[in-house]
């Protein structure tokens, strides 16, 4: 590693970490380091003090909330999410998405908090967390606040975090009855960055034939995960069939200007957003009907 000179501290408690972060403008939390260290290595950003929070027990647990949801510590790794029976029991898809991030080495180190706080539009977890209605629990020396995931991501590498503030945990509400989630991505290669992705959560009516309510989130069509409210409106009350979903998703991403790069034009990504949206919703429907609370076919 060819970093610039940087100081490193490993506080014993979250409180100590917050003290250091508050007292030094140049301090930054170090979680899994899977992005931050690369960023420092490439010298596109510089940090004076790395505050290593990765071993804080308080940030590393997964707990069941009273209402049956999950409270996931910010420093829970992708691998821990993947292998957690708690996560799989209530939010299968979250484990599945985490279990498909890059390779095992990265999954051993990368954390759910880091994945969100970086706010890299290619990251896997933000869109599914928005789709699941997760809430980000933030803490600073001056107190705590909760920010819905949908409001947390502010832009390319920008979040709602204030200086000196830590993401301590993420609360994921329980999946309503008759609901399921889906996740579909298009990537250049098996473990490559996604070109476009979509995450969806749907709740079906009692009989399981129509869509009662849905949340459809697109990623990589903009700098942050975006909900497609119009498509959601078209989905609500629609038949829970592939054809109906296809019709509802036909207008997805229209009017958006996804980035263009060597892997595909803006127009290509717009078209792919429709396809991924449909696939995610169809998966979510299947999951809602099945015993599982999330899809198995999510992957990247």
């Amino acid at each position: 590693m060819l970093l610039e000179q940087v100081e490193y501290v490993r506080p014993e408690t979250v409180g100590d970490a917050l003290e250091i972060l508050a007292s030094d403008d140049g301090a930054a939390p170090l979680a899994g380091g899977q992005s931050l260290v690369n960023v420092l290595k490439n010298r596109v950003a510089s940090v004076d003090v790395l505050v290593d929070i990765s071993r804080l027990a308080e940030l590393s647990s997964i707990a069941r909330t009273a209402d049956g949801g999950l409270s996931i510590g910010a420093c829970v790794t992708y691998d821990a999410l993947d292998r957690s029976p708690e996560v799989r029991a209530s939010h299968w898809i979250l484990g599945d998405v985490a279990g498909h991030i890059e390779d095992q080495q990265i999954r051993n180190k990368g954390t759910i908090g880091g994945n969100c706080c970086l706010s890299d539009p290619t990251n896997n977890l933000p869109p599914i967390l928005v789709a699941l209605g997760a809430v980000m629990e933030l803490r600073s020396r001056s107190g705590e606040r909760s920010v819905p995931a949908a409001d947390f991501f502010k832009g390319y590498f920008a979040t709602a975090l204030e200086p000196g503030e830590l993401l301590v945990s993420i609360t994921v509400p329980p999946m309503p009855e008759h609901s399921g989630a889906g996740y579909a991505s298009l990537a250049v290669g098996a473990d490559a960055k996604a070109l476009v992705r979509a995450a969806a959560r749907v709740t079906l009516d009692e009989g399981g034939t129509t869509i009662a309510e849905s949340c459809l989130v697109l990623a990589r069509v903009a700098h942050v995960p975006v909900r497609d409210a119009e498509a959601e409106a078209r989905l609500s009350g629609a038949d829970a069939t592939e054809e109906a979903v296809r019709a509802a998703c036909a207008g997805v991403a229209d009017g958006m200007q996804p980035i263009a790069d060597v892997h595909g034009s803006s127009e290509y990504r717009r078209q792919m957003a429709k396809v991924m949206a449909r696939r995610a919703v169809v998966q979510a429907i299947a999951a809602a009907r099945g015993s599982r609370n999330g899809s198995t076919a999510g992957g990247k």
Partner: protein, 833 residues
């Protein structure tokens, strides 16, 4: 990826040669005990870091080294101007004018010509300090307009990289064989394609470049510990530039983590490090980082073919091809324009094309310099030929299998002389194709393809790639580029030695990078010397002090099985001869009575009369009083042999001659499923049939096939190096450049046939490069999936968006192809063509 092998044809041998043995070197390599260049070092060394241009094309206005020099731990900084002042001449130019006017020095002088061009070199007491210091070297640039397209670069109005040359065209030549105009006039059909583009990519070695270089002021010796794959080429290029004679170089290589030809390109870095060491008075160690590698270490040749015309008879006989080719060498000429002739080793591809004219232009552009890259220069041409075969079949409604079989060089045609005088040594392409079709279950997939029909959103495509891996170059072909060049023929060296205690040691002139030379060389030597491969120690890598080299030494261009093992055979036989002579003397027997068994010499039929190798070594090295002096002078137990393949100097005017000794063939069949909604291509079945003559070690051959197949699939679907208009590389790291992993590469089923080469000492042919068959096969499969009447696959790289575009192109949109048919067909007798 899982690997399945078809049963190996050919019976088990009693010899070590021919056996599918695991590689000797793997024990240390898989246990992390390999020794690579970055593992090495020299006493007192500093660490070097290059200051590189962020611009694709710019004038260097000024360089201020002071801020770097004032840092603690910085030894020195070398700038381009300073380096030039220490040099006697620019690097030797392969091209005649105007290419020779495009001079290169160890570091950029006056201007930078591609993003990453090196303008200065820092030496410091640690890598970290060197890097920090490099950031503090202040370079002022004046950006210039860039040219990043090979065809545009040839235009006289394009921005010039080298004002001195007055053009970006490095070399231009017309390769004209048979009578293509006549063929075009007399053919039943002429298929015309306006453009085919072979993209840039790299074989991405696991290990990047690296070198530790010491300029010893006392002796004048320049020691170079590196992973450079053709050391004496570097010595010959660098020596006259930095004023060092060959015998004052000490090139050493150890384990090399892949090279693929790319590691021929970094001689300027070695030269710069030598000058840096000279200036600093201490060794300089440089380890290239990945992004640096991707920006600067060398890319494969990018070639655009335009105005392609193919004369075809009604029965599918293809008479030839006419095309113009533009090859883009990037900012400097590191081995170029040799690529401009190397493709002509395979002018007609696998086919009996008789009339070929290629008007070939090589240009410089504001991109990373190209280097040889696995399949070097032939792959580009062979891809064009394979595209033509498919397009002809596609457009004329013929079966691509039948078109290939009709036009293939047939088994009975060998040795087959191509229109430009190359001799294809042996092969059986129709049989290779049949095996490949079977191994890839093509009949079943055709049925499945019909079943799927429209509306499923999925399409199946079946593609074929027939290709050649021409090996053992006749370097005389370089004179077709420049008749003044003092090169022809080829050669390689091995030294076989019986050491003091009777150990067998083999030194090679090669620089293995994963090809298993230690294994195959010991198999060959073991057979000749009556021992097991474990008894033969083959030293790792190249060491100039061993004196096992000629000017061609190294590992490149599919030739070790012929030149390297030819040399090992010769050296081992020479040593055997000496051993037999000594043993006959010691055992009071006739030489023809002596046999070598189990590390001893004995009298045939009288096993008690034997002497172990240690006894023979003792006689020569440590106990020689009283032995006849003729015996001692003939038997020094240190046998050096130079294998030289039989070649003539080509005709540089007609551009004809035998350019390579062997032609291994590969026929690959690829079955893909294309997702109509996204353009994603998934490989469902893949078969690779290799014919490289006699295989010394089938396992090593299969390993090479897997590697070449993986790289080719990766290039065809995932990997491409593209520049924007200002000369910025769009994929400078693995975030953007998706290197295919085992998750992307399908199960590869290997088959083989053995058509021994009549021209080589062992019937073997070089086969490591592999001729780019996967690029041909994947493009062919995508074409098949698109179906009749659809767009033509015109690019060698087909990422999802491109496939999607082809699947969804509006009906009536340009198809890049045109067929002109002569009414009523012709009554010309095909046979007479």
């Amino acid at each position: 990826m899982t690997i399945t092998s078809a049963p190996v044809t050919g019976e088990a041998t009693k010899t070590w040669s021919g056996r599918a043995m695991p590689r000797k070197e793997d024990r240390r390599l898989v246990q992390g005990q390999g020794s690579f260049v970055d593992d090495g070092g020299m006493h007192g060394q500093g660490y070097a870091w290059f200051v590189r241009s962020p611009y694709g094309h710019a004038r260097i206005v000024s360089i201020d080294c002071e801020p770097a020099l004032s840092m603690e731990g910085v030894y020195t900084v070398l700038t381009g101007e300073e380096a030039k002042a220490m040099c006697e001449a620019p690097f030797f130019a392969i091209a005649p004018p105007p290419g020779s006017l495009m001079q290169e020095w160890p570091l950029a002088v006056g201007k930078v010509r591609y993003q990453g061009d090196a303008v200065a070199l820092v030496l410091a007491d640690s890598r970290e300090t060197a890097r920090d210091a490099a950031e503090r070297v202040v370079v002022e640039y004046e950006p210039l307009p860039a040219v990043t397209d090979g065809v545009a670069a040839a235009d006289p109005t394009a921005p010039l990289l080298y004002d001195e040359a007055g053009t970006n065209v490095v070399w231009h030549g017309v390769f004209d064989y048979g009578d293509v105009d006549w063929a075009l006039e007399n053919a039943d059909h002429v298929v015309k394609l306006d453009r085919l583009h072979f993209h840039r990519f790299s074989s991405t070695p696991l290990e990047c470049n690296g070198a530790v270089v010491d300029f010893d002021h006392g002796t004048g010796v320049v020691s170079v510990l590196s992973n450079y794959q053709m050391p004496m080429f570097a010595a010959m290029v660098i020596g006259p530039t930095i004023g060092v004679p060959i015998n004052k170089f000490d090139f050493v290589t150890k384990d090399i983590g892949g090279a693929f030809g790319l590691k021929i390109g970094f001689f300027p870095q070695i030269a710069a490090l030598a000058l840096l060491s000279k200036k600093a008075g201490r060794p300089a160690k440089w380890t290239e980082f990945r992004t640096e590698h991707m920006l600067t270490a060398g890319h494969g040749n990018e070639r655009t073919f335009v105005d392609i015309e193919v004369p075809v008879m009604a029965d599918g006989t293809i008479l030839g091809v006419k095309a113009r080719a533009f090859d883009d060498a990037g900012g400097y000429l590191h081995y170029e324009p040799l690529g401009a002739v190397i493709w002509s080793q395979v002018v007609p591809g696998c086919y009996k094309l008789k009339h070929v004219r290629v008007d070939y232009t090589e240009v410089v552009s504001n991109k990373c310099p190209v280097t040889p890259n696995r399949g070097y220069s032939r792959m580009q041409h062979l891809w064009m030929i394979e595209r033509i075969i498919d397009v002809v079949a596609h457009e004329l409604g013929l079966d691509p299998v039948e078109v290939r079989k009709r036009n293939y060089v047939q088994p009975e045609d060998y040795p087959y002389e191509t229109p430009n005088g190359c001799i294809y040594d042996s092969g059986d392409l129709p049989r290779s194709l049949d095996i490949a079709l079977e191994l890839a279950h093509v009949d079943e997939w055709r049925a499945r393809q019909r079943e799927l029909g429209t509306g499923s959103g999925r399409r199946i495509g079946i593609g074929i790639g027939s290709t050649l891996d021409s090996g053992t170059n006749n370097f005389g072909q370089s004179r077709i580029i420049n008749p003044e060049l003092p090169f022809s023929g080829n050669g390689e060296v091995a030294i076989a030695k019986l050491d003091l205690f009777g150990e067998i040691n083999v030194n090679l002139g090669t620089t293995p990078q994963g090809q298993g030379h230690e294994t195959t060389a010991s198999q060959v030597a073991a057979d000749i010397l009556g021992v097991t491969p474990d008894d033969v120690t083959v030293s790792t890598g190249f060491n100039q002090a061993n004196n096992a080299y000629v000017g061609f030494s190294g590992t490149y261009a599919s030739q070790f099985a012929v030149t390297g093992l030819g040399a090992v055979m010769g050296a081992a036989q020479k040593l055997r001869h000496q051993i037999v002579k000594l043993a006959a003397f010691a055992l009071h027997a006739e030489e023809d009575e002596i046999e070598l068994v189990g590390g001893a010499a004995r009298v045939r039929g009288d096993e008690e009369r034997a002497i172990p190798f240690i006894g023979l070594a003792n006689m020569v090295y440590t106990n020689n009083a009283g032995l006849p002096s003729e015996l001692l002078s003939e038997c020094d137990l240190n046998a050096r042999y130079v294998y030289v393949p039989p070649f003539e100097v080509p005709d540089t005017v007609a551009k004809t001659g035998n350019l390579t000794l062997t032609y291994a063939s590969q026929v690959h069949v690829c079955v893909v499923e294309v997702d109509e909604e996204t353009g994603e291509v998934k490989i469902l079945d893949y078969a690779a049939v290799d014919d490289c003559g006699k295989r010394i070690n089938p396992l090593v051959v299969e390993g090479q096939v897997h590697g070449a197949t993986g790289l080719g699939i990766a290039a065809s679907l995932y990997e491409s190096l593209d520049y924007d208009e200002s000369g910025q590389l769009e994929e400078p790291s693995f975030y953007e450049y998706h290197v295919a992993t085992s998750l992307d590469i399908p199960n590869i089923v290997c088959g083989s046939i053995e058509s021994p080469s009549p021209f080589t000492p062992n019937g073997a042919k070089g086969m490591g490069e592999g001729g780019g068959a996967p690029l041909h096969a994947v493009c062919s499969a995508i074409q098949d999936a698109i179906g009749a009447g659809g767009p033509i696959v015109t690019d060698s790289h087909n990422h999802w968006a491109r496939v999607y575009e082809m699947l969804h192109r509006a009906p009536g949109a340009p198809r890049n192809v045109e067929v002109i048919s002569r009414s009523g067909g012709s009554d010309t007798d095909v046979k007479s063509l």
